[in-house]
Amino acid sequence: MIFNSIEFAFFLVIVFFIYWVLLKKDLNLQNLFLLISSYFFYGWWNWKFLTLIAFSSLTDYLVGRQLGKSQNQSTRKGLLLISILINLGLLGFFKYYNFFAQNFVDAFLFFGSKVSLSSLQIVLPVGISFYTFQTMSYTIDVYRKKINPCKDYIAFFAFVSFFPQLVAGPIERAGHLLPQFLKARFFDYKIAVSGIRIILWGLFKKMVIADNAAMIVDGIFNDYSTQSPLSLSIGILFFAFQIYGDFSGYSDIAIGISRLFGFDLMSNFRFPYLSSNISEFWKRWHISLSSWFKDYLYIPLGGNRKGKWFSLINVLIVFLVSGFWHGANWTFIIWGLINGLLYVPLYISKGIKDEEFTQLRLTNLPKILFTFILVGFGWVYFRSPSVYDANQYLIHLFTGSGSAMYFSSSSKHLLVSLICLIGIAIILIVEIRYSRLKKGEVTLSNFQLILLSLLLLFMAAFKNPISFIYFQF
């Protein structure tokens, strides 16, 4: 059940009415209903994995309670270790077992020894990386005594499985989201309207830009060896906006739906393609993950407390782990490494101050374009099935051996490409404007919303509804 499906529309309407009409006076019943709805939402995809999310929630609930009771430091450390081992163990098994097994075998083969280690037919549970990180952040924060352990198990289970952000974030911190489950929620007209607005904006990004771009991107990446440099460049441009439209669109819809239920989620994107350097980009792209790694990996590793070179290593570790978090493939690791290496010069120079919002000027336009191009090259590794394919893609881009133009190979492809370009232009115009206004959230006027809805209706790829890319992570 994806956000842009008819099934989800029915689900949302039913849940919304029961939540606000029948249960509005009872917080516990509201939470219980959200928990049931969230499990139903998740179970729609594969009910068997509900046990996994329930087990993960139960582990951290119990560990959290014990952490609250214990003052003994070694006991507390042990409890934290249990939680981390269980959570990362599940994540590691489901997401990384085959990767490690294969690389283990390959490594031995490289040195002339044959090792037999069979790979398993493991189905990756949707959103496991997201809810695992969310529930881990709770335990770590309780351990650090930043928050108190949650006594209300229904509220806690609902916090872990909250359906708007369960499968692709934003990865919420317990300190921000969990208290919202514990206090009475009242329907707020203005918040609900802002929710609808941001949902529409998210749907536009997902269905008009990402889903249309996917058709062209798939065609180009699947047959890159015959494509011309122009076509390969368009492949990178469209994938950059496909993944942005897909993921930021999802985040916007998640934030909007949460508002309909009286919840406030953190912002996950802030106009990343207007960044004038890589450092800025990573402060604006997938903010909830970047800040998670900063708080729970970079700082525990020592952060910048042990000197410049030590912190540089920490930065590279964070980028590598971040890449690996995305998927069990060397392509993601290389992607993380590329971004880390691009970040290094900025980190060493420290001369550039990152801006929260970009004021587009002629002077910073080349920097923005240069940053976009660098990010785009990184996306080639992110999108390609293997490092070899990514390298070949870039070689073909620069050597120009192909002549095919997938994006204009038929009237249909040309039309879809045109829609993508119009969508990209709209997104850039809107983001430049809001960036100038120093507003992190796009809040369109009534007239603009009607226009956006019509554009959505007549430009969206309704026949090509693609699951959100980040579901696989």
Partner: protein, 302 residues
Amino acid sequence: MMKKFLIQLSKYFLIIALIANLLSLISNFLLKRSSIFKASFLVNNFDPEQAFDYFIIGSSRGLTSIGSEEIDQKLTTRGINLSQDDTGLPSQLLMAKHFFESGFRASYCILVLDEPDFEHSSMQINDNDYRMAPYLQRDYIYDYFRERERGIIRPYTLGKYVPAVLYSYYNTELFIPSLFTLFRPTYRHRFDQYGNYTYPDSQLNPENESLKFIQVQKKISNTLLYEFEEYLRTRGCQLILYVAPYENRELIIQQEVKAPLINHSSTLLENSYFYDPIHLNEKGKLEASSLLAKELQPLFQK
């Protein structure tokens, strides 16, 4: 608060639905007055008072294997090619109905039958059936879609009453092309003024080689053909079945349907006639049309 929210939501929903339906009706109007698809091309470019001698119906093989222009030159007849690529026999019967229901007449219908339709036809909607959608208000077209649509979203079935559903779902197929016809109403999408289309020479087989054919036993027994034949009979039109050339297949056909059959599956003996294994290029089309005209002459004289 909730009441106000729902009222506002309903208000905006109605405004958007109203504008979307209005735009869809305009889109429908533009497509119906254009020549972009065969259905409207027929209605807008020909006079029903002037009867055709024949019309050609088929898929991409019907569209590109035979040229009505070449046949007309040889037989001094008047024909039109109403074939559409990516269609099956049910869509072709629908096009035949559209021909007659639009007031046109013809003595013969040359049905270019494809192998997948020899014994039975899929009940699914074909990829290019949307080209008939501008005439969804007509019962025979609506019934065609209604009988075939499955699933929760049924754009054709709903589209008769709420055009926005159809035109938004098929936005790249219908809505955006309709905007294009606003500027070029006479544009035809991949066919000429007679409804024919020609593929270029194949880039795969530059060398001219003699072909080797594999003999394949086939039976034509599709029950839909009886319906097709009967429908045409009530309109005073005779069905002629035609099997267009293949690059490497010789079909030995056992026929259960009474309509005359012209089997040219293995008549073109060189690969220079072909664009790909099932489609002809211009040279192939001229040759196939010439051979077909010879076969049609005695049939037309009857």
